[in-house]
Symmetry: D3
Subunit: 157 residues, 6 copies
Amino acid sequence: MKAIYPGSFDPITNGHLDIIQRAAHLCTELIVAVLQNSEKQSYFLIEERLDMIKKATQNLKNVRVRSFEGLSVELCREEKADCLIRGMRDIGDFRFEWEAAQLNKNLGSIETLFLMTNTQYAFLSSSRVREIARLGGNVAHWVPESTHKYLFPSKEG
Amino acid sequence: MKAIYPGSFDPITNGHLDIIQRAAHLCTELIVAVLQNSEKQSYFLIEERLDMIKKATQNLKNVRVRSFEGLSVELCREEKADCLIRGMRDIGDFRFEWEAAQLNKNLGSIETLFLMTNTQYAFLSSSRVREIARLGGNVAHWVPESTHKYLFPSKEG
Amino acid sequence: MKAIYPGSFDPITNGHLDIIQRAAHLCTELIVAVLQNSEKQSYFLIEERLDMIKKATQNLKNVRVRSFEGLSVELCREEKADCLIRGMRDIGDFRFEWEAAQLNKNLGSIETLFLMTNTQYAFLSSSRVREIARLGGNVAHWVPESTHKYLFPSKEG
Amino acid sequence: MKAIYPGSFDPITNGHLDIIQRAAHLCTELIVAVLQNSEKQSYFLIEERLDMIKKATQNLKNVRVRSFEGLSVELCREEKADCLIRGMRDIGDFRFEWEAAQLNKNLGSIETLFLMTNTQYAFLSSSRVREIARLGGNVAHWVPESTHKYLFPSKEG
Amino acid sequence: MKAIYPGSFDPITNGHLDIIQRAAHLCTELIVAVLQNSEKQSYFLIEERLDMIKKATQNLKNVRVRSFEGLSVELCREEKADCLIRGMRDIGDFRFEWEAAQLNKNLGSIETLFLMTNTQYAFLSSSRVREIARLGGNVAHWVPESTHKYLFPSKEG
Amino acid sequence: MKAIYPGSFDPITNGHLDIIQRAAHLCTELIVAVLQNSEKQSYFLIEERLDMIKKATQNLKNVRVRSFEGLSVELCREEKADCLIRGMRDIGDFRFEWEAAQLNKNLGSIETLFLMTNTQYAFLSSSRVREIARLGGNVAHWVPESTHKYLFPSKEG
């Protein structure tokens, strides 16, 4: 099974990494696809987001990292992938994911498989991590090490 | 990927069949495992439930049907399966499935992958089908043909 | 618009009465239909439930009270009603109501219209009222006066 | 029963049209009222939104289309309408609708009646349609024909 | 603040113990009150449930354990407690707890304070623990040590 | 128990005031802490928001009102508070509050206690109040008297 895990990863969190590691076990190839959305400003540059994920996943042999623009269903066709993979942290994620999965099924017959995020990361999101880092809180336990230098640039320099 | 789709299937509905067909596409082997729960009376006998599913899935080459008792994690070990597969009809299924997935992850490091049920079957459940059939309503569009003779025995005889 | 408000009303609460009063304003005729379920034991007899509702709604000229068995869609056909009416107390009612509405639409092209229960009754249900009355709590503010004598028989005698 | 179906309709989808058709059956007159919100930029002009709806509903004799600004309760008073009509696609719509219905009941004793959107349109929203159209996806099955030329202007020219 | 933590505790889990430990920090006295419900059969005897909790909380100086029958509001009056304490594991607990809190506020002006269960116990419930123990699964990490001998009597004998 | 009730209070509503009054009963000291968020524009100035709350709570002897910037956990440390207090209006508030409570527990071992907002205010939010006031609706019953002059400046002048 060749699968694509699409997302913004702005930045990648340990919750995302948990999904990548578990999905990589079930797939022959897993592509982590970072959305480049021309309509919505991201906090980190696309190059930074790709770099953080590549470093965090470098010991996973069947994981490839790339960027994409446009519809997930087009990406699946281009990559000849069998399905999309998404994580669900809690019931609050359900509706958005349900709508997206039904849309992708209707738009391009693309299946979406869901994994439940490990409970210890269920309250994490990229936006929470950014907000807490901005206010000086310690988010070191919530993001992969490769992400630290982007969130705490001065300390790493 | 070898996967197990566990459930009561009392009886199998077109919602279940939708999940089986789509999951079979993504797996090398899919085992539909019918729960025999000694503590809870089922409406149909285990033999009837197995028979209905076998007939409904006979043209799916990589699907096997069997019964099981006890914990899903033990079943996974016995079958050397990579993961469990479950369908989610709507947000009302979330909590039960989330708890079961977290338990199985903690009990035996077993992953659960979820597919969203096709919207046209999202309001179906085995208990609704049984109740409406009992009251004389027409459920022919909601269950596979192999299930009709069990729900409408006199009409088929 | 001729509408049917089906339910168990075991017993009628002020939440139910709120829905009846508001729906009666919008309909030419409103039929309150009390379910007689041969498979499930009710706490009050069907005669008692009908009697409580008739007394509580006697000043509403376009409201009729009756019992029914079987499917709501058959009842709608028999009464030539335009739709079903149901109340929703809070999000916890959503899934059951959504499934029932979709089933009735599919089974018999019957529409269901929903009203939101007044917030002051949103935490009330027939089962909560019965349980609290059984434990000696004061539920007089939560049920119509016509229901008191059934819940507090000795005090009324 | 004279009812108002208020919304942004930016643009109208087949989910909206489904609600309009079903509500029109239950009402003597149904007014589709398009919100002109001076605080929030819409994607389509108010004239475009009105035009799309008028064309999509032209064969429904008891449906009238108009714009409005301000509070729904004022609109109801002005039109002497009996109630508001709203669709609910899934549980994700519940909270917003529940709050709005309770506010309108408290602000102006205005009732809101809800219909459940047909399951085949439950994952549709105006914003999803706009986003997918922008990315080049095919949304022709999700909007009325009268809306195509606004979403695919070049193809229609 | 003197508080009461009511529940069935059939049996106590590590999720319950987490709430007790955290609530005890915030209260001058915390009473763990075990419900003896004459209408509903419990799995463990009331003496067993009291014993398990007493052992699990023996090093918490301001915690007292007792049984009760009837309404929580009566218990609060009898104990002159300031409020009830309840844990919420996830959104699935919300509705039941919301209704109970509103009822207790209306019945007897009793406040309920909620704590969120630690995420590592969020999927645990007494009924899940009993079911898994019955099927031979290892629940040792999910209940206090004082509960083991009741769930695995032969191993402890 | 010394507690902090943090929020934006833009403006304070009767729902907020309900939580303040009830929490003040359970605490030795309650600090209402108004968030000054440099990243997000508030509708009312911080001085206005503080002033409205001070006036609305002036007869509550153990309530203090202050502003804060940054993380709630830092505020708790600075004030040596035992916990945070938050209100939940309905299930729609659950997810945000659950995430924030788990984050604060993980970031700084800070507990959060929740009270359920009185049902009569459950549909109120500061943003709804602002929107309705802007459109000329009467929100006098939904905010404390001290807030009227800010929402209806001309009428008070």
